[in-house]
């Protein structure tokens, strides 16, 4: 077979095609090199901003100074007035925070976390104020062998995977010393540890933690109680003997913790689960069950124990089922991350069986109606004390880091680099789904530099007069602040 001769025209066409293809190939390669033009000269020439000697370490320290003001806007004549010493109109907090992790021996570490606060307000002795030192943690940690540890001292032991409410975080009660924010994540930073001994064994497939916290109680001792500026406030964290056993592991991406907790010989069981689904979603749940009284009954007992308040005369005004019985606490939630923005949202449903039911709230407000009907001066002292007892229930819920109501919706959105690289925003909402009142907090942090942060937080309480959040005597709060990290 003779090959067919190619005509000159076709030859020219093929040559042209080859040239075009060759140029296209070169252009494609050149296009790759164009990417280099996107790198500014200053970037290519830059040296590392961090020296290589900072690879973590034997000892580490962290310090910051923080000043924050708070200005409250009060509601006129709330249904249940607050006692006069509650919630000043304007206050200021100046804090020195220090944390040190010191390696004493190769297998022995010492951790110290302390906050020294100067607090002042317009209602008391502004601007002289008072000093409150919070020794958050001070403990020794011994790495006995392998990944087996023994810790002793004041330790912040936290458990749970949820954000807004942690039923299995058994050491949370009464541990927040200063309520610097309504954001649960921020409140965790400001909490007192419990004096305990803790043993932890971390294994390739999971870990086992055992903790025992003794009762350390001295109602009159100035060092042990929270009655002096430099007291250890052990009456808040070690009022009862407590024990915890916790097993943590994961199976095929499902992480879980199983917990057993005992307080004054009353056992509570708990568990939490978390799992990632796809690239953007994490789902989680947390649950505990154990015998306890209702929140309101516990609050009144707490007042009686801590402040010698006898609530019996006001029992008629107070909500509650005071029986001791098994009650559940539960959280179900998810977090979702948006791919186009640096935004994550946590959505949670909280259930607190000991919390106030709609009929409890009705009783709570009944006192207010009575006060309006029987507005006689001779009854004022009685009503004042009743109001204090009523508010102490809500105060106790805050101290216990649990919802005051039996049901709550919680949404928290954090947005890094919002509008500008230096701005981080956090918004959260707590909603009472029954009376539809809500609390909202917006917090902005502007990173002036690596060391200086400006902050501004706004609180807003909304709802009807006889709703959970509408009955709060404040309707909004403004909190500007500045932090210097060094």
């Amino acid at each position: 077979m003779v090959p067919k001769r190619i005509s000159p025209a076709v030859q020219r066409g093929l040559t042209l095609g080859a040239v075009v293809l060759s140029l296209a190939w070169q252009n494609a390669a050149a296009g790759q090199d164009d990417d280099l033009d996107l790198i500014p000269e200053s970037v290519s020439a830059a040296q590392p901003a961090v020296s290589t000697g900072t690879a973590g370490g034997r000892n580490s320290y962290r310090f910051f100074l923080e000043d924050e003001m708070q200005v409250n806007s009060s509601r006129h004549s709330p249904l249940i007035p607050l006692p006069r010493n509650y919630a000043p109109g304007c206050s200021n907090r100046f804090t020195f925070y220090g944390k040190a992790d010191i390696r004493i021996l190769p297998s022995l570490n010492f951790t110290l976390v302390d906050r020294l606060n100067h607090l002042s307000s317009n209602r008391t002795d502004f601007p002289s104020g008072r000093v409150q030192n919070d020794l958050n943690e001070a403990f020794l940690s011994w790495n006995a062998f392998g990944e087996n540890y023994l810790d002793a001292g004041r330790i912040n032991l936290k458990s749970g995977v949820a954000i807004g409410f942690n039923p299995v975080d058994f050491f949370r009660k009464d541990a927040v010393s200063l309520r610097t924010s309504e954001d649960p994540l921020v409140l965790r930073e400001n909490r007192l540890g419990t004096v305990m001994a803790r043993a932890q064994s971390i294994l390739p497939f999971g870990s086992l933690t055992l903790a025992a916290a003794p009762r350390i109680s001295d109602r009159t001792g100035l060092v042990i109680t929270d009655k002096s500026s430099f007291a250890f406030s052990l009456n808040r964290t070690n009022a009862r003997p407590r024990y915890l056993a916790k097993f943590s592991s994961s199976y095929k991406g499902l992480s879980y913790d199983l917990l057993y907790y005992s307080e004054t010989a009353k056992p509570i069981f708990g568990a939490d689960l978390s799992r990632g689904i796809g690239e953007k979603l994490v789902v989680y749940a947390e649950w505990s069950r154990g015998k306890r009284r209702s929140l309101s009954a516990e609050a009144l007992l707490y007042d009686a124990r801590s402040f010698g308040v006898d609530a019996k005369p006001y029992a008629g005004y107070l909500p509650g089922d005071s029986s001791m019985r098994a009650r559940n606490e539960a959280v179900a939630g998810f977090s979702f991350t948006e791919s186009g923005h640096k935004r994550s949202t946590f959505v949670e449903y909280h259930y607190n069986e000991a919390g106030m039911t709609p009929s409890d709230w009705h009783n709570w407000f009944a006192s207010g109606y009575l006060q309006r009907i029987y507005n006689y001066p001779e009854l004022a002292p009685l009503f004042d004390k009743a109001n204090a007892a009523l508010w102490s229930i809500r105060d106790y819920a805050q101290r216990s880091m649990e919802p005051a109501s039996s049901q709550q919706l919680f949404i928290r959105n954090q947005w890094q680099e919002a509008f500008t690289k230096k701005l981080d925003l956090t918004n959260l909402v707590q909603i009472n789904p029954v009376d539809r009142s809500f609390f909202a907090q917006s917090a902005a942090k502007y990173n002036l530099s690596d060391n200086f942060i400006l902050s501004l937080a706004l609180y807003f309480y909304a709802g009807g007069e006889h709703s959970e959040y509408g009955s709060v005597n404040k309707w909004n709060v403004i909190k500007p602040g500045i932090t210097w990290l060094f």
């Binding site: 830059a46 590392p48 290589t52 690879a55 995977v161 930073e189 994490v282």
Partner: protein, 257 residues
């Protein structure tokens, strides 16, 4: 003739050079490039990241990263301790397969995060270093190209098209590997919608842990090309990293030393 060629090839391939041992399949090339980036044994590095916008420095941070391959899955598990800036100092991020945890020492709490949430931070840029491309992606040899590396030297390369096997952070990657010694030089990382997310130049090669490894990467944001991140890798060290360290409960105890 064919026998001679085979002999020459065999002679050269028998030389103790890493490059000439490379099987010239697409997967083989990617595996060899992975070996350049990732030491065989558990290791730690200090990573400093500086972010620039239009050439002007905006943010910087430093991490101490501990990495160990999971021999069962081939994935690298990493523990990253934040060294700087001061507001993030002491925070720890754990990546163990699909389990991602973020520990904040101030609140003393570990929060489980999604892969997307991890990608929000600059720390996610570490992915482009410790990703096991061979395990995560199916490779296809797209041809050979001479490109300029980050030092603007012309280097003959294999060009590979990588497609996610399912669990990776990027859907598709275009990848350029030095023909001579399997050094990865450039990658372009795409989302499943075809959007260009990152362009990465690997450079600053020097001997670390027994062979030439990249000590810098320049990452150009695909969405906002004025945003460029420079990563410097330093203090390569072989480490004994126990399996226990990849448990969530270990995070509060991780000191990065």
């Amino acid at each position: 003739m064919r026998t001679m060629i085979s002999a020459v090839v065999l002679t050269f391939f028998a030389l103790p050079s890493y490059a000439v041992q490379t099987p010239k399949t697409a997967d083989g090339i990617v595996a060899q490039a992975d070996a350049v980036r990732n030491p065989d044994n558990p290791f730690s590095i200090v990573v400093s990241l500086t972010e620039y916008r239009a050439g002007k420095q905006e943010n910087s941070m430093a991490l101490n990263v501990y990495s160990k391959e999971n021999t069962a899955t081939g994935q690298y598990r990493t523990l990253a301790l934040f060294l700087k800036p001061p507001k993030d100092q002491g925070k720890v991020m754990l990546k163990n397969g699909t389990e991602l945890w973020f520990y904040d020492p101030t609140s003393k709490s570990s929060v489980r995060i999604s892969p997307q949430q991890r990608l929000m931070g600059q720390a996610s840029n570490g992915d482009v270093m410790t990703a096991n491309m061979h395990k995560d992606y199916k490779a296809e040899l797209a041809g050979e190209e001479t490109i300029m590396d980050s030092a603007k030297a012309k280097v003959p390369c294999y060009k590979l098209n990588l497609t996610s096997r399912g669990d990776s952070n990027y859907y598709r990657v275009e990848y350029w590997v030095d023909k001579a010694d399997s050094r990865p030089l450039k990658g372009k990382f795409y989302s499943d919608s075809g959007r260009l997310l990152k362009i990465v130049y690997y450079g600053g090669y020097r001997t670390e842990l027994g062979r030439e490894r990249p000590t810098e990467a320049i990452i150009i944001d695909g969405v906002d090309p004025k945003l460029v991140t420079k990563m410097i890798f330093d203090s390569y060290n072989n480490r004994k990293i126990p399996e226990e360290w990849f448990q969530k409960e270990y995070l509060p105890r991780f000191k990065g030393d």
